[in-house]
């Protein structure tokens, strides 16, 4: 066990995959000598050279598009998109090309491209630097989407993404990059399957599902709820596509109440999908409607008011109160 930050864990995970597979390569803006704007690729160009840690022109469609070509020629590209709000110039390549290539080739071609996207707010940044666009990608068949909430998952998930034959988007919770935790670099242990949700805290009265940056918030809310006598189960979803509905449903059948929290706007979001599936699978177990906690239907607001936008402990507690009121 080693203690490290999420950023360092991804760095170590990338180093491991570069060492383990000579066909892995990294590409992105400023990922070379600078080590990326968040230093996640720090030091890698020195170890692996410019053919494997590729500083690209400033063009997201070009990054994703050339990564697709590299994958078709047998390489395993890991692309860094600098910020969530800057993925959209590459959206066409991701949704019309990357996601569909395996299907449209009748299974003959695979495009094992990994796209790393730092996402979410809470860093006091300017516009386009704090968004949570995961639902836009989850709606596209052919993609897989995972998001770590702790260093151990971060270390293993990036390697599992590279090993996956399907395209994988790894949404990295950028405001948690400096969150420290224990990493077992010898074995993934319970994190062997990146598409499985984890029950982080067991409870009997309600379930809170969160992922990425809101996992620590959900855990803190559960602690606060316990002081009020409520036993709250917390699930780290980990995978946004596919979603591990079995783990969520099993929990709801036990607790009868579900709150889903994410930074992304609730409308058309992952929380809505979970609410619908749970109502189909566990309708008779529900004591209350599934309640969503998330961003408002507005462009991500300016930094000075983002605290009013971002779900926090109180917003999750308020949602739990509403669930308990039924």
């Amino acid at each position: 066990m080693t203690t490290m930050t999420i950023a360092k864990a991804i760095n170590e995970g990338l180093r491991a995959t570069l060492n383990n597979n000579p066909r892995t390569l990294l590409m992105g803006e400023d990922i070379g000598p600078l080590g990326g704007v968040y230093r996640v690729t720090d030091g890698l160009i020195g170890e692996f050279g410019a053919d494997r840690v590729v500083d690209t022109p400033l063009a997201e469609s070009g990054i994703i598009g050339t990564a697709i070509g590299l994958a078709l020629s047998g390489y395993l590209p890991v692309c860094e998109i600098q910020f969530d709000g800057f993925v959209f110039p590459g959206f066409n390549q991701i949704t019309t090309q990357l996601a569909k290539m395996h299907a449209r080739s009748n299974g003959n071609l695979t495009v094992p491209v990994v796209i790393r996207i730092p996402y979410g707010g809470g860093i006091g940044s300017i516009e386009h630097h704090s968004e949570s666009p995961e639902a836009l990608f989850a709606h596209t068949a052919g993609l897989r989407i995972i998001t770590p909430s702790n260093p151990h998952d971060a270390y293993w998930m990036i390697q599992q993404a590279v090993d996956c034959q399907d395209p994988v988007i790894v949404f990295e919770p950028k405001r948690r990059y400096w969150l420290k935790g224990e990493v077992d670099t010898e074995s993934p242990g319970a994190s062997a399957d990146p598409f499985k949700a984890h029950v982080l805290r067991e409870g009997t009265d309600a379930t809170v599902v969160a992922y990425g940056p809101l996992v620590p918030v959900a855990l803190a809310a559960a602690t606060a709820a316990a002081e009020d006598g409520h036993s709250v189960e917390v699930i780290d979803l980990r995978s946004i596509s596919p979603i591990d509905f079995d783990t969520v449903t099993e929990s709801v059948k036990k607790t009868g109440r579900l709150v889903v929290a994410h930074e992304a706007p609730t409308f058309g979001g992952i929380g809505g999908e979970i609410a619908a599936r749970v109502s189909e699978r566990a309708f008779l177990s529900l004591e209350a409607p599934v309640i969503r906690v998330g961003g408002f239907h507005m462009p991500y607001p300016v930094a000075k008011v983002e605290e009013d936008y971002l779900p926090d402990i109180d917003r999750i507690l308020e949602a739990l109160d509403r669930a308990f009121a039924y």
Partner: protein
């Protein structure tokens, strides 16, 4: 509606009666790129200081082969158009007029090269030995990609314009890395794998897409072994190429720092020569190349299009006079390289191909939607599995019903 207010042929490198050519010269400060032409519309072979050497590599058999290929793909095009009109295909994208651009360039590629087409490159597909009947699967609505690109190094058609251009550059970057590794691991005396390059096709319309720009930037930055082959067929559905560019497209290469060549796209000998030069250059790692094949889409954009609404028949007539097959036939006959028997055989072969394609199209099997479930992801996926299970159960509910239908119609239902 006549379209005489539109420039008939854009700047064609002849300097005659061409306002745009003068404009381009004013903008560029020099004459725009001259067009490489070896075989003129009258069937006489001219000289070029660089490319005649490449043309001289061609013997009579190769030239006859070019003609046979062009005639075959034109016949195939007619047959596919007819199949669409008969309701056998949902859509067809005709290539007539662009045979020389496609056969000339495709025949210049080597088996180890990898080709990314757009969606009109039926002639290139022929040169890559793709079964032309398989090509129709996409237009029949039974597949989104009817062939396995790994068999022929001819990628699937891409319908999102220019999206394949960065794929080509990435593939070329992969080749570049493969070649570096191979060179590092080479043992003296051992035969080396032949060097490879990538060629990517797009049109004058797609040249306006951002992906073309980004891919050319990437190609130049990494000196990727890629040839950009732009077929300027003058019309992006109904919009003339003058709306896409005010300078010859080939001149854009200068801005990226690699050579750009405009070639007469109806001259199969020149297209072949220029493409061989470009691919050799790319394989050797000297630089990417942009080729603009100056040609004309004689027919409609697709079978859903009506060119009479946006261009005049006089313009089409002008281009028909530059027909790629006629000029090669004139040359072959004048030089006594082919006789009536050859042309009769080409025609018979074309009819045979058409019959094969017609029959195969009728016989193309409709796939089971279960293959779509199976191919959405490469690895097991719980949501897909759940939806498939539901679909199976739902479908099973109709099993009795379909038996009844069969019984009622005494087995005569066309199933």
């Amino acid at each position: 509606m006549g379209a005489t207010h539109l420039p008939a042929t854009e700047f064609d490198g002849t300097g005659v009666d061409d306002q745009l050519e003068a404009e381009a010269e004013a903008v560029l400060g020099e004459p725009p790129t001259q067009m490489v032409q070896l075989l003129g519309p009258d069937g006489t072979l001219g000289e070029d200081p660089v490319f005649s050497a490449y043309a001289n590599r061609l013997d009579a058999e190769k030239l006859r082969g070019f003609y046979a290929d062009m005639a075959a793909i034109r016949r195939f095009d007619q047959e596919a158009t007819a199949l669409q009109r008969q309701g056998q295909l949902a859509l067809w994208v005709p290539l007539t007029g662009q045979e020389a651009a496609q056969i000339g360039s495709g025949r210049a590629s080597q088996p180890q090269d990898y080709i990314f087409p757009t969606y009109r490159e039926h002639g290139v597909a022929l040169t890559r030995n793709v079964d032309l009947a398989e090509l129709l699967r996409q237009f029949r609505g039974v597949s989104n990609g009817g062939w396995n690109p790994k068999d022929t190094n001819f990628h699937l058609y891409t319908l999102v314009l220019a999206a394949q251009t960065p794929h080509a550059v990435g593939y070329a970057m992969g080749i570049q890395r493969d070649q570096k590794l191979a060179a590092a691991n080479a043992t003296p005396g051992q035969p080396q794998e032949p060097k490879a390059a990538v060629m990517v096709y797009f049109g004058d319309g797609a040249s306006s897409e951002g992906d073309v720009h980004e891919s050319m930037v990437f190609a130049s930055s990494y000196n990727a072994p890629v040839v950009f082959f732009c077929q300027n067929n003058h019309w992006a559905i109904s919009v003339p190429s003058t709306v896409q560019t005010r300078v010859p497209l080939a001149d854009r290469a200068k801005g990226y720092g690699f050579p750009g060549i405009r070639v007469d796209g109806n001259d199969v000998i020149a297209v072949h020569a220029v493409t061989e030069w470009a691919l050799e250059r790319a394989r050797e790692g000297k630089s990417p190349v942009l080729i603009e094949a100056f040609t004309y889409r004689v027919g409609a954009h697709t079978t859903a299009d009506d060119p009479t609404k946006y261009r005049g028949s006089d313009e089409e007539a002008q281009w028909r006079a530059k027909d790629p097959l006629e000029r090669l036939e004139k040359y072959l006959r004048a030089e006594n390289l082919a006789d009536d028997d050859f042309f009769a055989k080409v025609k018979a072969d074309g009819d045979e191909l058409a019959a094969y394609v017609r029959k195969t199209t009728h016989d193309l099997e409709t796939p089971d939607i279960r293959t779509a479930f199976a191919n959405t992801y490469a690895e097991a996926h719980p949501l897909v599995a759940e939806e498939l299970a539901w679909f199976e159960e739902y479908s099973a509910g109709f099993a009795d019903e379909s038996e009844t239908v069969e019984a009622d119609t005494d087995g005569a239902a066309n199933r």
